[in-house]
């Protein structure tokens, strides 16, 4: 069902982890649908020096976030804006139809992290829109 590249990125995710005091952090998705992605960016002089991700979700969700981080690492903010869900999918040699939304989520997570960076630094990144606010998962599982 998954391509070799998807399986590779699922089994050996690149850039998995977190960055303390990151320049920008973006979290998208919701636990209800079963996918949450978080991307951390370390940006210096408009260049993405480091990037990390964490993902709650299926194999495709992990693979698309892993690939998205690969595609932006070392790139400029402007170049990172060009990493779309289509680019992520192509880099993974495709996704099953039912999993295309995972690649969209990866693009959104990246943009949410860039938005956070822009906000913190009081700059405007051309073409970047404010992401939907991330809903914390419900507290009801506390009694779990």
């Amino acid at each position: 069902m998954y391509t070799k590249k998807v399986m590779d990125h699922f089994q050996n995710p690149r850039n998995m982890g977190e960055i303390e005091d990151a320049s920008g952090v973006g979290t998208v998705g919701n636990a209800k649908c079963g996918d949450i992605m978080r991307i951390y960016l370390d940006i210096e002089d408009e260049i993405i020096k480091d990037v990390k991700f964490k993902t709650f979700g299926c194999g495709a969700a992990v693979a698309t976030s892993s690939m998205a981080t690969e595609l932006v690492k070392g790139k400029t903010v402007k170049e990172a804006m060009e990493v779309t869900n289509k680019a992520v999918m192509e880099a993974l040699d495709g996704l099953p139809r039912a999993k295309v939304h995972c690649s969209l989520l990866a693009e959104e997570a990246l943009q949410a992290a860039l938005w956070d960076y822009a906000k913190k630094n009081g700059i405007v990144i051309e073409g970047l829109e404010e992401p939907k606010p991330f809903e914390e998962h419900e507290e009801e599982e506390e009694e779990f």
């Binding site: 998995m16 636990a31 992605m37 992990v62 779990f144």
Partner: protein, 397 residues
């Protein structure tokens, strides 16, 4: 371990060698159409009847009450659509539950679109139907109650005898989908007041594509597959003789070994559940602790998603299943897990283990070890877990 560990027997079972051997002659030398007049075809008719007796015996029915079908789904469809059609002058109300198999649920939804009214009984947190809810739901127009004997996902076994007695006292027909129950728990259609019962061959080490519907004598049931005079004109089509023979053999073997095998598998199941709950934090068992299929364990692991878990288990040659949305092909996780009140995010992180007659304690140990590593790995990757840990750290400070 370098061999595959199959822990998905609720999905399907391997066909037993003895069963395959019993079937083989009916593909080649004994190929005759059972409806033909010559002697060598007549033998096939006898073989079918022998299987019918074996199936009847397994559930305490009379062989005249057993009709062969293509499997559990057809049996469920036939029972529900057939009764709806045959008894429509009496009423148009059907009662079922929210945790039925889709073969029942989607058939009921189809009937709703065609003028029938369906009540879906809710279940409690362990997956049990409350008999009082059933009593309250029955009305003048109720023509059928369909409640599964044992749930395919969480393994909860319903108080079928009590539910059947309620149906009987109200004069309403009672169908049960017993696909997961036959061969695992004792069933007696008379003691349990069951009027219609669905069975599948491939869930009990028989071939796929064969099943049966038990229909109590005297019940009007419209035919569903129209054709020749097979199955007393109630189910047309040339009989699948090899499959029927295999089904008979499989059910005979399953019933013979049921007591010992159920005990053995229940011991493995209990060991697995105890170890997983002890060794993996933020984990729960779904389904009833006591009224549960001997071969079923269903866990939820917080902060992780089921499909990822299944792929990682597969990489360790372990075959299992999950109720996550990704494995159901929709955005919603399993209706059964939601039906017992689990929040979506917990339902996404579920794992169903269903044991079989070849599984061993060594395999359970390997599964437990693998789960400890995989769950920890997926949590390390999970933003939900990160948030949880940070929250905990704050509370401690």
């Amino acid at each position: 371990m370098n061999k595959k560990i199959y822990l998905d027997h609720a999905a399907t079972t391997p066909t037993k060698i003895e069963v395959v051997e019993a079937m083989l002659p009916y593909f080649t030398e004994k190929f005759g159409n059972p409806s033909s007049i010559y002697e060598f075809s007549g033998q096939n008719k006898e073989a079918i009847e022998e299987s019918r007796e074996l199936v009847a015996k397994a559930i305490g029915a009379n062989e005249r009450e057993i009709f062969f079908t293509s499997g559990g789904t057809e049996s469920d469809n036939w029972a529900i659509l057939g009764i709806a059609e045959s008894y429509k002058t009496k009423g148009n109300h059907i009662i079922t539950t929210t945790i039925e198999h889709h073969a029942v649920l989607h058939t009921c939804e189809y009937l709703e679109k065609n003028g029938y009214e369906v009540t879906y009984l809710e279940v409690d947190k362990d997956g049990l139907v409350n008999p009082d809810d059933l009593k309250d739901a029955i009305k003048e127009t109720t023509i059928l109650i369909s409640i599964m004997l044992a749930n395919n996902e969480i393994g909860t076994v319903q108080p079928i005898e009590e539910l059947g007695a309620i149906a009987k006292a109200s004069g309403v027909l009672f169908h049960t989908d017993a696909v997961q129950g036959v061969g695992h728990v004792p069933i007696d259609v008379n003691a349990m007041h069951i009027d219609l019962l669905s069975i599948s061959g491939h869930k009990l080490y028989g071939p796929k594509g064969i099943g049966a519907l038990y229909v109590r004598k005297g019940i009007k049931l419209k035919s569903f597959i129209h054709g020749g005079g097979q199955e007393k004109k109630r189910r047309g089509g040339t009989e699948n003789v090899p499959a029927i023979v295999g089904f008979g053999k499989a059910i005979e073997l399953a019933i013979t070994s049921m007591e010992a095998e159920s005990k053995r598998q229940a011991d493995l199941r209990d060991y697995l559940i105890e170890q997983v709950l002890e060794k993996i934090p933020h984990c729960r068992i779904n389904g009833h602790k006591e009224y549960r299929l001997p071969n079923n364990a269903n866990f939820s692991f917080e902060f992780i998603e089921g499909e990822s878990l299944l792929i990682m288990l597969d990489m360790k040659d372990i075959c299992a299943s999950s109720g996550s949305a990704c494995t159901s092909g929709s955005l919603d996780p399993s209706h059964v897990l939601l039906g017992i009140g689990l929040p979506h995010e917990i339902a996404h992180g579920s794992l169903r283990i269903s044991l079989g007659d070849q599984n061993t304690k060594e395999e359970m140990d390997y599964l437990i070890e693998s789960l400890i590593v995989i769950v920890a790995r997926l949590r390390e990757m999970s933003p939900l877990y990160e948030d949880y840990m940070k929250k905990q750290a704050k509370i401690e400070r």
